[in-house]
């Protein structure tokens, strides 16, 4: 068999090394080491061409270069905030980037401490007792919250209540997680973009394991009666799970104060920027549910010199030890994204984070007011305070408006026949004037 064996630039060694190593293992050739029966051997070619580093880079560049350059006014769960250079720089340090899960804590103190600090920031932001050090994204964190609710409320039923406006992607992931344990996912009504408390009360009976709400909601509305939602959930002994993100949590009502039992959401609203939906799931809860928490936890221990040190802890919840009795199957998580979030929060500090959150309210309010003045547009649709984003009604079909805006260099969401959704943050704020002009032109 002829097979080119000088192919990977990332595998050191020359022919002499190979010979010596083959001698040591008593093989004539590398192929002899492949203990694969003939019928299942692969003797073909993939037909994948090799490239020089420069050409491989150019291939990616050229392919991605086919994306249109649009200024995005998009959110709905995936947000663009400016990521400070310090975040990029520090998170790129190879000791973080090229490390693995901290199974040997003595050589992983740096990452463990950074993750402990991340958990601590989430504890402060949510007011809850514990946070894990990441799920995949907000949707899978919600799915994990649902299965947790069944474990901790096993006597009281299997219905999960979510708002009727829940983003489709999130609802689908929740359904996937709910399927195994036979939870049934049902919706409760919303009014003006937020929880219809009476409607929720009607839907909530003793069979409900979990009530989910978001603040801000998927349409950007700030919930005015979260405390009432928490009280309802409490009265009916359902777990109250709240969706949010670290920017919103810096300003909006503290989840612990409105009775939230679990907070899930997108930690990646800080530290990641847009990455085609790549995120980091935030998960925090009360101490009572600690041993039912999915995912990794970093705790404080002591080393042999009695100095404080950090370690993964309560690993008996995890799949590598408890196998089918684990609280979750998650193994690889989003640790690097959690690190980036933590550095971003630290870079802003408390003042900077609150300022950023207040800007999310002011920018959305001001942009909605300006769009409302455009003929053929009413904004915001919902009579609520908003965070980052809001919906606007358009006299023209929304799809046509969005398409025309795209031609003018802007991307927005279409959320109804005559409804678009617009998101504004520090990242696209400099383009607001041009955006308003474009909407005026096409609406």
């Amino acid at each position: 068999m002829t097979r080119q064996t000088s192919g990977s630039p990332y595998a050191p060694g020359d022919a002499a090394d190979t010979e010596a190593m083959l001698d040591a293992v008593g093989a004539d050739g590398v192929e002899d080491l492949f203990d694969i029966p003939e019928p299942v051997r692969f003797d073909g070619e993939f037909g994948i061409e090799a490239h020089s580093e420069r050409d491989a880079r150019r291939l990616v560049e050229r392919t991605l270069g086919r994306n249109d350059e649009l200024t995005e006014f998009m959110g709905r769960g995936h947000y663009d905030h400016y990521v400070p250079a310090l975040v990029e720089d520090l998170a790129s340090r190879q000791e973080f980037l090229t490390s693995y899960t901290q199974y040997q804590p003595e050589v992983a103190q740096g990452f463990l401490q950074a993750l402990f600090e991340y958990q601590s920031m989430l504890v402060e932001l949510t007011g809850l007792d514990v946070a894990n050090c990441s799920m995949y994204d907000a949707a899978t964190a919600l799915g994990e919250a649902a299965t947790l609710s069944q474990r901790v409320r096993s006597v009281s039923g299997d219905r999960i209540l979510v708002p009727d406006q829940l983003r489709e992607g999130k609802r689908d992931v929740l359904a996937a997680y709910a399927d195994g344990p036979d939870l049934s996912v049902e919706t409760y009504p919303t009014d003006e973009g937020t929880v219809d408390v009476e409607g929720l009360a009607d839907a909530l009976d003793g069979d409900v394991a979990m009530v989910y709400a978001e603040n801000p909601t998927v349409s950007g509305a700030i919930e005015p009666e979260l405390g009432a939602v928490g009280d309802l959930a409490d009265e009916r002994d359902a777990l109250f799970v709240l969706g949010s993100d670290p920017v919103a949590l810096a300003l909006l009502e503290r989840p612990a104060d409105v009775g939230a039992d679990v907070v899930v959401g997108e930690a990646s609203a800080l530290g990641a920027g847009t990455a085609y939906g790549m995120g980091a799931g935030l998960f925090a809860t009360r101490e009572a549910y600690l041993r039912q928490v999915p995912g990794r936890l970093v705790g404080v221990g002591e080393d042999a010199t009695e100095r404080r040190a950090f370690t993964l802890t309560l690993q008996t919840r995890e799949q590598h030890i408890r196998k089918e009795r684990a609280t979750s199957n998650i193994c690889t998580n989003q640790a690097l994204l959690a690190l980036r979030t933590a550095i971003h929060v630290a870079t802003l500090g408390p003042d900077g984070l609150v300022d950023l959150a207040e800007d999310c309210v002011v920018l959305a309010r001001d942009l909605a007011a300006r769009l409302d003045e455009v003929s053929g547009v009413r904004a915001p649709v919902n009579d609520r305070h908003h965070f980052r984003e809001f919906q606007a009604r358009t006299d023209q079909p929304a799809a046509a408006v969005a398409s025309d805006l795209e031609s003018a260099g802007f991307a927005v969401h279409v959320v109804g026949e005559h409804r678009i959704q617009v998101c504004v943050t520090d990242a696209n704020e400099p383009a607001v004037d041009r955006f308003v002009d474009a909407v005026t032109e096409v609406a």
């Binding site: 192919g7 990332y10 008593g26 490239h51 973080f96 103190q109 740096g110 689908d172 221990g301 998650i330």
Partner: protein, 505 residues
């Protein structure tokens, strides 16, 4: 994968008695040390927490754009200047070991070198787009996705591939849900998933999470699937058999055709756990072996940084028969030269990620595969397998079973494998996975990957051998040259303190 004893269940996993300072010299390796970690101290403690350096509480005041009843009262977080933060995190990085620091032969984790150019490729501004953009405006992204689907399909011998699962375990969940949907579509109520005892823990957790009962399959004397046991285990309740090949002992399942026949005859599907795919590139393909569905750990096989525990990505490949069940959205080229589109397969299982998975990891994997091509990928496997066999032949620890593919499991014998691992840290190498799989006593599960040179493997072997020759007292006192000394994980679990708020109590 496990390389620690269960922390709060371990009968004897406690830390050794603290020793008086200054004894490090007693046990310090004389030669062959590759790496020493920084040990930043402050008044006898290690690097302080951010909150200990500065913690500032801000009020949410009257100048807030929201009424009081919609806002919190205050927020307390560290408030440090950029230079202080740069120094804090740089110090932390000095207390952390990555694969660029030295060998990282953690079995089944495939910690190999990650090319730097893929980082730059993933950082291209064109990669940073919103997932809800119109298909017409992100043709580049969709094309790259379609190309990567195609690459992975060829490599695995699969007909269709989804990129959505954000990690290997998420890929398992996707694959098992596809298997469930397939049986359901056939009106076939199957309740069990069969898994060998040597399998990754995620397999068991995934099957349970998807609502299946787990049937554990004991391994045969030679460490491979026991065909008699398999025949006894599968039947009309079997939805799937989850298998990795080579398995976690590094052994190729030579009877794979027979295994496939038994499972298929019973009406079950064969699921391939791609964690060990690095051993097979260009030599064998799961699709050709009879596997119906598989996941790829692109962060392992196709070398993207593991980021201290993630992100990874776990694309799933399926045969044509299962393609209609793939998650939505799926990506394909439209027939009429009008570019690429997203669509929902006819009987899609729905979604396993809120959007489309860990996109930037996938960009890196694409770049890596394009860099290596056919010959490079095949070479990567060849050298990974050669390196594993070479290292296995060079160490004094007993290595049962064989011949090996990309990894082998040595036995620490009379030594405690976890203690031996701690001692290896003193020789400047990351230790193997320990005490797993449980089939081997005091297991040291070792996967050097193709990224280690012969010289590096010799250094690794020297470290293994030095540790193999040491007494229990030395091992129990280790490590001594790392950023922190041996950490007592039992106490940490008994009294969990999981945030800096908990330290104030």
């Amino acid at each position: 994968m496990s390389d620690e004893t269960p922390d709060d269940a371990a009968p004897d996993g406690g830390a050794p008695e603290p020793e008086a300072g200054g004894d490090a010299e007693d046990h310090a390796p004389e030669a062959g040390t590759l790496y020493d970690q920084a040990r930043w101290t402050d008044d006898g403690e290690y690097e302080p927490l951010l909150a200990e350096k500065d913690s500032t509480e801000v009020e949410i005041g009257d100048d807030s754009p929201l009424p009081d009843d919609l806002t919190r009262d205050s927020l307390e977080l560290p408030a440090l200047a950029e230079p202080e933060l740069a120094r804090h995190y740089t110090r932390l990085s000095g207390m952390n070991y990555g694969v660029d620091s030295g060998p990282f032969p953690l079995g089944s984790c495939t910690m190999k070198y990650n090319p730097k150019f893929t980082e730059r490729a993933a950082a291209l501004p064109e990669a940073a787009v919103h997932p809800d953009r119109s298909a017409a405006s992100v043709q580049g992204t969709l094309e790259l996705q379609a190309e990567l689907q195609d690459y992975l399909g060829r490599i695995g011998g699969m007909d269709a591939v989804t990129l959505q699962p954000p990690a290997g375990a998420a890929g398992e969940f996707t694959g098992i849900r596809i298997a469930a949907a397939y049986h359901e579509a056939n009106g076939d109520d199957r309740t069990e998933v069969v898994i060998p005892d040597s399998a990754h823990g995620t397999n068991f957790a995934t099957a349970a999470m998807a609502g299946f009962d787990v049937v554990e399959l004991p391994s045969a004397e030679d460490g491979r699937v026991d065909i008699d046991a398999l025949e006894a285990a599968v039947g009309e309740d079997t939805a799937a058999l989850m298998l990795t090949n080579p398995n976690t002992l590094g052994l190729f399942e030579r009877d794979i055709e027979r295994v496939a026949e038994i499972v298929h005859d019973a009406g079950g599907l064969l699921y391939y756990d791609g964690a060990n795919l690095n051993a097979l590139l260009g030599r064998a393909r799961p699709g050709d072996m009879g596997f119906d569905v598989m996941h790829y750990n692109v962060h392992k096989t196709f070398a993207t940084p593991h980021g201290g525990g993630g992100p990874g990505a776990g694309p799933v490949g399926v045969t044509e028969e299962l393609a209609e069940f793939l998650p939505t959205p799926h990506v394909r080229e439209q027939g009429d030269d009008s570019g690429y589109e997203r669509y929902e397969p006819d009987r899609s299982i729905g979604k396993v990620h809120g959007f489309s998975g860990n996109w930037l990891v996938l960009v890196r994997a694409f770049a890596y595969i394009a860099r290596l091509g056919d010959a490079g990928l095949a070479d990567a496997s060849a050298r990974a397998v050669l390196n594993a066999n070479y290292l296995a032949s060079q160490i004094d620890y007993e290595v049962p079973y064989g011949p090996f593919h990309h990894e082998f499991v040595a036995s620490a014998g009379e030594q405690d494998a976890a203690d031996a691992a701690k001692r290896m840290l003193d020789y400047g190498v990351h230790p193997p996975t320990t005490k797993w799989p449980e089939i081997v006593d005091e297991a040291l599960m070792t996967e050097p990957t193709e990224a280690e040179s012969r010289g590096s493997l010799d250094d690794l072997a020297a470290a293994f051998d030095a540790v193999a020759a040491e007494d229990d007292a030395t091992l129990e006192a280790a490590p001594e040259r790392t950023a922190a000394r041996r950490i007592d994980q039992v106490t940490a679990a008994r009294d969990p303190r999981l945030s800096w708020h908990a330290l104030e109590d």
